[in-house]
Amino acid sequence: MTTQATDTSVRTSIVVDAPIERAFAVFTDDMGSWWPSDHHILEGELAEMVFEPRAGGHVYDRAVDGSECRWARVLAYDPPERVVFSWDISPRWQIEPDPDKASEIEVRFIAEGPQRTRVELEHRNLERHGEGWEGVRDAVGSPGGWNRGLEAFARRLTA
């Protein structure tokens, strides 16, 4: 596994001993089988992770109570060679409703043999999250932010 990083993207790749069709299918249809279980932003208990296999589809988590959390849009779906999806998650680990503030992930599958596939992943346009990132600082990090507001609120209550 190798890793490279530019200012606004993260790149990584891995070689798997599996045919390209299977690598693609496991990455997309079976995403829930390998996605780190501690990385869901769903409120309730996770029932399943759903990848809708078409451009214009979504990736979403479904909770046992039936509620859903759509955290990605499928931007390109070209089996078995390429898939692109958005990352609609803000730096505060909440759903980002504004598509202009979402980054995106492109995954390419390259057959190195009948039983061997290279998977190249690029998570790019991270700067689009920049405004949210700044916002976190401005809202809660500055001396004039939440702290001052809460102090004023507390003074009001005890006056």
Binding site: S9, D30, L121, L126
Partner: protein, 105 residues
């Protein structure tokens, strides 16, 4: 680039990742983190020192407390975090992809 590598190393530790994720939610003092995590105060301080040296978090004084937050300079911290995330995710993906077909629904 040196910072980038330091950031990756710093986030390789699960406790430091947990601290980093909590600071992404909101700034916190050492005591807050020690209460929320199964880690002692001195250990939290030590982890924060590593994260600070890696350029991922910064601190400021608020009265007699020291408040820690993610370093908002650019997207360096976010990038370091995602880099570690994808490496872990792809390692798990490889394990599943290399299993027999019959084991995957």
């Amino acid at each position: 680039m040196a910072n980038q590598l330091a950031g990756l190393t710093a986030l390789g530790d699960p406790t430091r990742r947990a601290i980093f994720e909590r600071l992404a939610d909101r700034p916190r003092a050492v005591g807050d983190l020690a209460r929320e995590l199964p880690v002692s105060r001195p250990a939290v301080s030590q982890h924060l020192k590593v994260l600070k040296e890696a350029g991922l978090v910064m601190d400021r004084r608020a009265g007699n407390r020291r408040i820690y937050q993610l370093d908002p300079e650019g997207v360096g911290a976010l990038r370091a975090y995602l880099d570690g995330f994808w490496n872990r995710a792809l390692a798990a993906f490889k394990t599943v992809a290399e299993q027999g077909h019959e084991e995957v629904s």
